[in-house]
């Protein structure tokens, strides 16, 4: 109890908690879940964009997309490393995900159907991720906060790249414009859902707020995102697919229509357009790679034995 009070006092004083510091079991558990879900999201998130690497329409875009997806893999690696500081192994966390017991961001259960989806993912999905993640750079847990600083820096580069793809399409041929608008139409609502359920029904938020893991509510972040995005869409000459969208003259906020939370629940429950494909792809990579991992381990052990034998001579 004294531990707990001292811990909360450090949190309240905006001190960073480090791996070897005492922390409540629930704090450790919450963070392990959140960081590993975040890591899984980065890794599963490689798939929808990876789907266009082989078909990117110019060499410059191809290189940029490949580098971006590689960055996501890197984010996954830092985040697993951050989760490991809490005592969970990467292997165990990955196994949970492959067994369907751990979640990843539902947004990656939507398909990338055209090249414009790559633009929209950079612009909106990364944009929403940054909105969610900037406050995490001040998260009370040190390794997570530091990982997020690095992640956010790269994400904003990706976000600008995505917006630039959209700009090129929006200033391109009629077909390119239509492709951009179509992608926006398909992604808009799923992106708004990325901020999570509305505040009245959101779980975990109370303790996460107390522990300074979470600093803004879902609805606050969502509103911030909409307010930032509407002028960008206007600049592109694209129409946000929400006929009810309007600016409140008093607050300046852009008010949006009701979100279809039933769709969110379904996708979360495994019933999204690509849930099965995403899990199948990750499982296949894991299963097909088993013999490689085994070989690397066998070789490392042989080598160690040989070194021991040599040292004994």
């Amino acid at each position: 109890a004294a531990h707990a009070a001292a811990f909360q006092a450090r949190i309240d004083a905006e001190e960073r908690i480090e791996p070897n510091d005492w922390m409540p079991a629930a704090y450790r558990k919450t963070l392990t879940r959140q960081i590993s879900q975040h890591a899984h999201s980065e890794i599963v998130g490689m798939l929808p964009e990876g789907n266009w690497i082989t078909r990117a329409p110019s060499l410059r875009r191809k290189a940029a997309l490949l580098a971006k997806v590689q960055d996501e893999c890197g984010h996954g690696l830092y985040l697993y490393a951050a989760a490991e500081t809490l005592g969970a192994s990467r292997e165990e966390l990955v196994d949970q995900m492959l067994a369907g017991k751990a979640k990843y961001s539902s947004i990656f259960n939507y398909p990338t159907l055209t090249w414009a989806d790559i633009g929209v993912i950079g612009w909106l999905v990364d944009g929403a991720a940054i909105m969610n993640q900037i406050p995490l750079c001040r998260c009370s847990y040190g390794p997570y906060a530091r990982a997020m600083i690095r992640v956010c820096k790269e994400e904003s580069f990706h976000q600008r790249q995505g917006y630039e793809i959209m700009l090129t399409l929006a200033r391109g041929s009629d077909e390119q414009k239509a492709m951009a608008q179509d992608a926006l139409n398909r992604w808009w609502w799923p992106v708004l859902m990325m901020f999570g359920p509305p505040d009245q029904v959101s779980q975990h938020s109370d303790t996460s707020t107390k522990w300074k893991i979470k600093r803004f509510s879902n609805d606050e972040l969502r509103q911030k995102f909409v307010d930032a995005t509407v002028p960008q869409a206007q600049y592109l000459g694209l129409t946000i697919p929400d006929p009810g969208l309007k600016q409140n003259p008093a607050t300046g906020h852009w008010e949006y229509s009701a979100i279809d939370w039933e769709e969110f629940k379904q996708v979360l429950a495994g019933n999204g357009p690509c849930n099965r494909d995403r899990m199948a792809a990750r499982r296949k990579a894991h299963d097909d790679g088993a013999w490689v991992r085994e070989a690397a381990q066998a070789y490392a052990e042989k080598r160690k034995r040989r070194q021991v034998a040599q040292a004994a001579e």
Partner: protein, 258 residues
């Protein structure tokens, strides 16, 4: 009727540069197919790294080929608007990824060559090629080390990994001879000090490859028959499928900027 593929005025230097550009693009494309599907996340990173290096080389080489040609082509036209018979890459590099062992053996065979080749090309009398060579040599050196380490791990790992690595060596061996072949146009470039004769690199290449393969407890095949054709656009059936994917956007939406 719309124009399908571009024509390229293949002077010796244009053709020479284009062949190396195609090598880099096609191998880079193959490596990029692994993205999101590698055996471990660290390899997702490493394979993407190598793919990015190669794409970078391809872009510089295509741009230079376009500049030398001087007919208004550019890197994207050269990459996206030539058909399978106009592609000039080595057959080795278009071979499908197969399993991880096959991808790494392909990488070893090529990088062991590329590293020597680019090092020699750093002395090219053509300043652009020499500059590309300096950068490419550093990259190839890393690709060679990375693939060598894996071949040793796989060859000297488990029974299964050994068998897979040996199968890959056996299957890809016949494609290695093409790296050392030249035609008359290339020979003229050697004499001008622009290019280097790859035949002179062969024994050193064989030393490197034999060393790695030996340490990996694998053996090189005794069959000396070597397959050729890539440099003249006589490819395997695999390249056409690769190009139908690589080029699909540019072919579907001709003439727009992305």
């Amino acid at each position: 009727m719309a124009v399908a593929s571009i024509t390229v005025s293949e002077t010796p230097l244009v053709l020479y540069t284009l062949r190396r550009a195609d090598d880099a693009l096609i191998l880079g494309h193959r490596l990029s197919e692994w993205c999101g599907h590698a055996p471990i996340l660290e390899e997702d990173m490493a394979l993407a790294n190598m793919a990015l290096d190669l794409l970078g080389q391809a872009r510089e080489l295509y741009s230079y080929a376009a500049e030398v040609e001087g007919k208004g082509n550019d890197e994207d036209k050269l990459a996206y608007l030539r058909d399978v018979r106009q592609y000039r890459n080595l057959l080795l590099l278009e071979q499908p990824n197969g399993d991880f062992a096959r991808t790494m053996v392909r990488q070893l065979f090529y990088s062991a060559f590329a590293d020597l080749y680019w090092r020699a090309m750093m002395k090219s009398s053509d300043a652009t090629l020499a500059a590309i060579a300096a950068k490419s040599e550093k990259e190839s050196d890393y690709h060679l080390r990375h693939s060598s380490e894996w071949i040793v791990r796989l060859g000297d790992g488990t029974e299964e990994s050994h068998a897979r690595a040996q199968t890959a060596v056996d299957d890809l061996w016949a494609f290695t001879g093409e790296m050392f072949e030249v035609d008359a146009g290339e020979r003229a470039l050697f004499n001008a000090g622009i290019a280097v004769d790859p035949a002179g690199l062969r024994s050193q290449w064989l030393d490197t490859v034999s060393g790695v393969v030996g340490e990996a407890t694998l053996v090189l095949p005794s069959n000396d028959w070597m397959q050729q054709g890539g440099r003249d656009g006589r490819h395997s059936e695999h390249l056409g499928h690769l190009l139908s994917e690589l080029q699909s956007m540019q072919r579907t939406f001709p003439g727009v900027a992305w």
